[in-house]
Structure formats: C-alpha cells, structure tokens
C-alpha cells in the first residue's frame, strides 16, 4: 500500500504525521498563545487593582480588564489550545489523516473572527459585562455574534476530531481500543459538544435581545443555560488536562497506567456526570428546587469527583512504578527524589497534579455543598478555586506539553533551556500564592468581583478584617510571579518557533 505524500515520519517517535493536520495544530497553538498573552496582560491589571495597596485601575477599566481577562483566558486560550490537542490526539497519535482539513481551516477562521470581534467590542467599551454577561447587563450585538461564531468554529473543529476517529478505525491505523490519551481527548470532545450547544442556545436569543428584537430574557433561565456553557467549558479543560497528564507521564519517565480499565472508567464517569456539576453555580438561586440542586451537585457531582480522585492516584502511581522499574527503589521516596525535576515538562506535570488536586479539587468539592456555598458564593473563594484548577492545573499542563510539541510538531529545539527549567516553578509558585490569597480573603467575606473591597463612599461600610490586606498582598505578589512565569513561557515558545534550531 502506498503512503500518501501528505505524511512525514517523525524521526523521534516514528509517528506518521499528517502534514495538513500539523499545519492546523501549529495555527491553533500559535493563536492560543497570542490570546494567552492578552489574558496575561489583563491578569496583571486586574490583580494590581484587587491588591488594595496598589489599586491601579478605575472602576470602568477594571471591569473591562476583568471581562477581557476571563474571556481570553477561560475561553480563547484554552479552547484554541484544546482544538490543537484534539487534532494531535486524533490524527497524529492514531497515525491517521485528519478528516477534511479545509473544514478545519474554516473552523479556525470562524474561531479567529469570533474571538477577534469579541476582543474588539471589549476594547471599545461596548461589552463591560464580564465573562458571565448575566442579563440584564447588555453588550453590543457584535459581542454575542463573536461568541456564536467562536462556538460554531469550535463545534466544527470538534466534529473533525470525531470524523478522524471514524477514518482511523476504518483505515485500521490502530488495533483494539483507542489509546488512553486519545480516549481522554474524546472525553474532552464529548463534553465540548454539550458546552458549545448550550452556548449557541443562550447566546442567539441574547444577541436578538441586545438588538431589540426580543423584549425580555429571563435572568434565571439565562443563568441555567449560560452555566451549561460556563462550567462544562472548564470540564473540557479538566479532561484535556488529564489526557495530557497521561501523555506527559509517558513522555517524561516512560509511565504506563497500572490499570487502564480503571482510568477509562474514570473518564466515562466524567462523560456521564461531570456536566451536572454546573448546578453548583446556582445553589443560591431561588427559582430551582433543592431536589434539583442536591441531585446535580451531590449525587451526580461526587461521581465525577471520584473520577478526579482516581486520576489523581493513577498518574502519580504510574510515575512511581516507572521510576522503580529504573532501579530507584531505595526507601519510600528515592523514585521521587531521582525524578527528572530539571525537565520543565515533568515539573509542570507534577505541579499541575498537586495544585489541581490539593487546592483546586478540595475547594471545588466543598463549594458543591449548599450549606458551604451559601457562605462562599460570590466571594473571592470562587476565583481562588478556579485559579488552582484552570491555571495551576490546566494551563501548567498545557505549558508542560508545549515543551514536547515544539520539537515534535514545530521541529525546533527549545531555546533558553535554563530559563525553561525554572519557568514552571515560577508560574506554579505564583499561582499557588494567587489562589490561596484569594481563597482565604474570600473566607473573610471579600467580594468576588467588586472593584473596591472597602466600598469607599458607600452608605453602609462593611467591616474588613486587617488580615485581608495581608492576604491580598500575597495574592498580588503571587500574581506578579505568575505573570513573569507566563511571560517567560511566551518568550520561550515564540523564540523557539521563530529562532529555534531546526531538528529535522
């Protein structure tokens, strides 16, 4: 059988790389990093305003920067990168051709046009509605159109992933079940379908409302449907991140899951139950019953939490087994001591597991309880939680895999390797400080989104415990460290793509 010329063979892994897929991976990954840069710049402005000792921006620009930060980080950076991961997991890891690359470029164009439109509207001050854009806050119709275009593009990209799985099975490019990493990516893609569908359902009528065609959007209904987008969009991250954990375990120390059936079962628990956890954003909403809240956030959500705990055990266990197999068997922890801590991908993997599991996971589970949610809702505890999951977990994992994507897909040797070694630590330590500072300040009742914690000029002055100023100072210093770590990542990736030594 002749091999089509659209393929090259990777000299390092021996994988057959479909060149149109490779180009799409490059395009999506590069654009993801550009949106990451925008998000990082906004992060610095937001953090320096929330740090009372600095209080940098005025209220109007604070909410604008907060809107841009949330959307660029939680939607654009993550989903562009995830589309690259989906193409990589389907076409490259399965040695297959990517289904309909032209549609892939259409998806890319739609996502780019949509995200560009959204950012322009935010920059022009036409969409100071924050990421949630709760009605009756109203943005310019083009903001909603941008979100719809982006969602449609992402849905097309996700569909190509499923089509590529069909092609790979038909062409028998793999034997038996899908490899675990691809199965994890499939989990992310399935969650993405639910997410994007909810986005389309809520943003289309909201756009018509902002155009004056629809008179009224019910705020409670908006919240249910929007959180069908908002929370699952972060569950796509979780599934993609865990697929990357398994990939990085294999790439950095040669780890293999000790029980693949268990790992797959954990992914299936995500597919079936993780999206129900959206309800924990509505635990203090009056319209929905306690039965609905308890079913969705307790019984169902705990099955997804169980899945995270399984992954949180199996990935480190597989690393330990791989290390012990290499002869690092002295005592309980020689395997850990002799781990490749100087490899930025391994450092990023380990920090991602620890930050996601111990800080993000534990805080997230407690918020899923009505009694705790009532005191933590809309406080800084919430962003304290998701900065540990999405930034300390997902973003660090994405950074870690980038150090392999650069030589394998861009075929460039990573530049400034000494800086690359410290980059995950700098970013990880910074984000831990951000997360803990926010979480504990939130425990003192500090509002999640308010521009000024002292409510200066308000008729009723809330009591602010002095400890809060220390905690927000820790958050501010952590933010500076995390921004430095992020800028280092951007410099290394851009420097590698533009000036890295070609690897063949």
């Amino acid at each position: 059988m002749s091999v089509p010329t659209a393929f090259r063979t990777c000299p390092t892994t021996g994988l057959k790389v479909h060149l149109p897929a490779e180009n799409l991976i490059k395009a999506n990954a590069v654009v993801a990093v550009v949106f990451f840069l925008i998000g990082v710049a906004m992060a610095l402005l937001v953090a320096m305003t929330r740090w009372p000792a600095v209080h940098l921006l005025g209220d109007e620009f604070f909410y604008r920067a907060l809107t841009a930060h949330g959307i660029n980080m939680l939607i654009f950076w993550i989903i562009f990168f995830e589309i690259a991961v989906l193409y990589f997991a389907s076409a490259i890891l399965l040695n297959s051709r990517l289904a309909a690359p032209k549609l892939g470029w259409l998806a890319f164009a739609l996502m780019l046009a949509g995200s560009g439109l959204v950012d322009v509207m935010i920059a022009l001050g036409k969409a100071d509605v924050m990421m949630t854009s709760y009605v009756p806050l109203k943005a310019h119709p083009l903001f909603y159109l941008g979100m719809i275009l982006f969602a449609v593009g992402a849905l097309v990209g996700t569909s190509l992933f499923f089509a590529t799985l069909v092609i790979a099975r038909r062409d028998r490019t793999y034997e038996g079940s899908l490899p675990l990493v691809v199965f994890g990516a499939a989990t992310a893609a399935i969650i993405a379908v639910v997410t994007i569908a909810h986005g389309a359902i809520i943003y289309i009528p909201t756009m018509l409302w902002s155009m004056g065609i629809i008179e009224h959007i019910d705020a409670s209904t908006y919240r249910i449907l929007w959180w069908g987008l908002g929370h699952p969009s972060q569950q796509i991250n979780v599934a993609a991140m865990i697929a990357i954990w398994y990939l990085l375990g294999a790439l950095t120390v040669g780890a293999k899951p000790i029980n693949e059936k268990l790992c797959r079962t954990a992914f299936v628990l995500y597919i079936l139950f993780i999206n129900l956890a959206s309800a924990h954003h509505l635990l203090v909403d009056p319209g929905v019953s306690s039965t609905w809240k308890i079913w969705n956030t307790s019984y169902a959500m705990y099955l997804a939490v169980l899945a995270s705990m399984i992954h949180g055990m199996t990935v480190p266990a597989s690393i330990e087994v791989a290390q012990r197999r290499k002869g690092y068997t002295k005592g309980l922890f020689e395997w850990l001591k002799k781990a490749p801590w100087g490899n930025p991908s391994f450092a990023a993997l380990t920090l991602s597991i620890v930050i996601f599991g111990f800080i993000g996971g534990i805080t997230g589970v407690t918020f899923g309880t009505e009694q705790i949610n009532i005191i933590s809702h809309n406080t800084l505890r919430i962003p304290g939680h998701f900065h540990a999951t999405v930034v300390g977990g997902t973003t660090l994992a994405f950074m870690g895999v980038t150090y392999y994507v650069l030589p394998l897909i861009f075929r460039r040797q990573v530049v400034a390797q000494a800086l690359a070694k410290i980059q995950p630590y700098l970013f990880g330590v910074g984000i831990v400080m951000v997360s803990l500072g926010m979480t504990f300040a939130g425990s003192y009742g500090i509002s999640r989104r308010h521009w000024d914690i002292t409510f200066a000029g308000a008729t009723l002055q809330p009591a602010v415990d002095p400890t809060v100023y220390l905690l927000l100072g820790i958050m501010g210093i952590g933010a500076i460290l995390a921004v430095l770590g992020a800028l280092l990542y951007i410099l290394i990736t851009v420097g590698t793509v533009l000036a890295g030594k070609k690897t063949g």
Binding site: S177, V193, V194, H198, L225, L272, L276
Partner: protein
C-alpha cells in the same frame, strides 16, 4: 489482520470494553444525561413557577 485464528476461537471482547469503545454511544449519553437532569429539569422548574400577581 492477524488471520491466524478462526472466528470461533477469537477472544471475546468484554461487554464493558465494547461499551467504552463505542464513542458515539458515549457521546449520546454524555449529551443526554446533562440535558435531561440539568437543563430540561431546571428550565421546567422555572417555567412552572407561579407568576407574580399583578
């Protein structure tokens, strides 16, 4: 294809593995469960709230 063994001698694939390998069945369930339990149930509860008297 291996072609070494007859069809009758081929190892039986466990039922759970068949389920896990069926990505489109998982896709259908992964969409249906949240749509029924989270979205439709939640929206139905809101729709059935009594209207505030004028």
């Amino acid at each position: 294809m291996s072609g070494q063994q007859g069809k009758g001698e081929e190892e039986r694939v466990p039922m759970w593995q068949l389920f896990y390998d069926n990505i489109f069945l998982l896709l259908a369930l992964g969409v249906a469960i949240p749509v029924v339990f989270y979205t439709l149930w939640g929206v139905m509860e809101l729709v059935n709230l009594p209207v505030w008297p004028k």
